[in-house]
C-alpha cells in the first residue's frame, strides 16, 4: 500500500506545468462580439467549405480523358465513395446519393485534417457545431428518403418489424424507436466530436509537455521520446481523420440504405 501511495504521488503534475484542459477549444471573437459572433472556428469552417468547393472546381472544371494531378486525386476520392460506400452498402439504388456522400466525406475530412495542418492546428469538428448539424442532416435525410421510398409504411416497418411474434412488440417497438430515431443522431455526433476532441487534446498535451520537459537539462532525455511519440500520434491522427470521415459517410449511407430498402 505504501508503494501505491508513492505511485499515486506521480499522478500529480510537476510544479509549474498546467496540463491543458477543455479550455483549448474556446476561441475568441474575430468579427462582432457577444454570443453570436464570427470566431476563429467559424472562419475555419468557411475556409473548409471554400477548400472543398475549390478542390472540386479545379479538378473537374476542364476534365481530361487521361486525368493528371489534382483531377487524378479527386477522381480517386469519388471512386472510393462510389465503389467503397454507395455501391457496397446501398447497391445500385445508391448511385444517386454519390454526389451528396462525396461532398459530405470531403467536408468532414477537410475539417478533420485541420487538426494537423501547420498554422491551423484546430479541428473544427471538435467543437459542438459541425457534427450535430451533419448528424441532423443525415437524420432528416434518411427519414425523408424512407418516406419517399415507402410512404407511411416506413414508420410502420421500422417500428413494427415484420416477422416478430405480436406479443413481443411490447419489447421490440420501444427498442426500435430509441435505436432508430433517438440514438442514431446522438452517436453520429458523439463519435465524430469525441474522436477529434481526444486527438486534439492528446497532441496538445504531448507537445506542450515535451516543450516543458525540454526547459530543464535534467529532463531533456524524457522530452525527446515524448516529442517523437507526439510526431507519431500526428500521423495516427491523419488516419483518424480519414477513418472518421469514412465512418460518418458510411453510416449515413447505411441509414439511408435501410430506409429505402424495406426489410421485406
Amino acid at each position: 500500500m505504501g508503494a501505491l501511495v508513492g505511485l499515486l504521488s506521480f499522478t500529480k503534475p510537476p510544479e509549474g506545468f498546467e496540463a491543458p484542459g477543455t479550455e483549448i477549444f474556446e476561441t475568441h471573437c474575430v468579427i462582432g462580439s457577444g454570443d453570436y459572433c464570427v470566431n476563429r472556428a467559424s472562419l475555419l469552417m468557411i475556409l473548409a467549405s471554400v477548400i472543398v468547393v475549390a478542390l472540386f472546381l479545379i479538378a473537374f472544371r476542364r476534365p481530361k480523358l487521361v486525368p493528371t494531378g489534382i483531377q487524378n486525386a479527386m477522381e480517386s476520392v469519388v471512386e472510393f465513395v462510389r465503389n467503397g460506400i454507395a455501391l457496397e452498402v446501398m447497391g445500385h439504388d445508391g448511385l444517386p446519393w454519390v454526389p451528396f456522400l462525396t461532398t459530405m466525406f470531403m467536408f468532414i475530412f477537410v475539417n478533420n485534417i485541420f487538426e494537423i495542418l501547420p498554422l491551423i492546428h484546430f479541428p473544427t469538428t471538435s467543437r459542438m457545431a459541425i457534427p450535430p448539424v451533419l448528424a441532423l442532416l443525415a437524420y432528416f435525410l434518411f427519414i425523408g428518403a424512407g418516406i419517399k421510398a415507402q410512404g407511411f409504411r416506413f414508420f410502420k416497418e421500422s417500428l413494427f418489424p415484420p416477422g416478430v411474434p405480436t406479443a413481443l412488440y411490447v419489447l421490440v417497438t420501444p427498442i426500435e424507436f430509441v435505436s432508430t430515431f433517438l440514438v442514431r443522431p446522438v452517436t453520429l455526433t458523439v463519435r465524430l466530436l469525441a474522436n477529434m476532441v481526444a486527438g486534439h487534446l492528446i497532441l496538445t498535451i504531448f507537445f506542450l509537455g515535451s516543450a516543458y520537459l525540454a526547459l530543464q537539462p535534467a529532463t531533456i532525455p524524457f522530452a525527446i521520446p515524448a516529442f517523437l511519440l507526439g510526431v507519431f500520434l500526428m500521423t495516427f491522427e491523419i488516419l483518424v481523420s480519414v477513418l472518421q470521415a469514412y465512418i460518418f459517410t458510411i453510416l449515413t449511407a447505411v441509414y439511408v440504405g435501410l430506409a429505402i430498402h424495406p426489410e421485406h
Binding site: 501511495v5 499515486l8 500529480k12 477543455t22 452517436t187 458523439v190
Partner: protein, 82 residues
Amino acid sequence: MFRQLIGVLAQVEGDVGTIGKGLVYGLGAIGPGIGIGFLVGKAVEAMARQPEAAGMVRTTMFLGIAFVEALALFGFVLSFII
C-alpha cells in the same frame, strides 16, 4: 481490498477527481477494447478464409467498429462532464 484502496485514495494529495475521471474512461474502455479485439480478429479470419469477400467483410468490420467504439467515446465524454 476495496476499502484499503479508498483509504489510499483518501491520502493522495491533489485533485482526486482527476483519478475518478481516469477511472471512468479506463473502466469504460475495457468492454469496447475486448469487443473490437474480437471483431477485428474474426474479420481477419473471415478475410483469410474467403479473400474474395474481403471488401464486404472490411466494410462490415468498420461498421461494427464504429458501433462498438461509440461506447468507449461515451466514457471519454463523460469523463469531461463529471
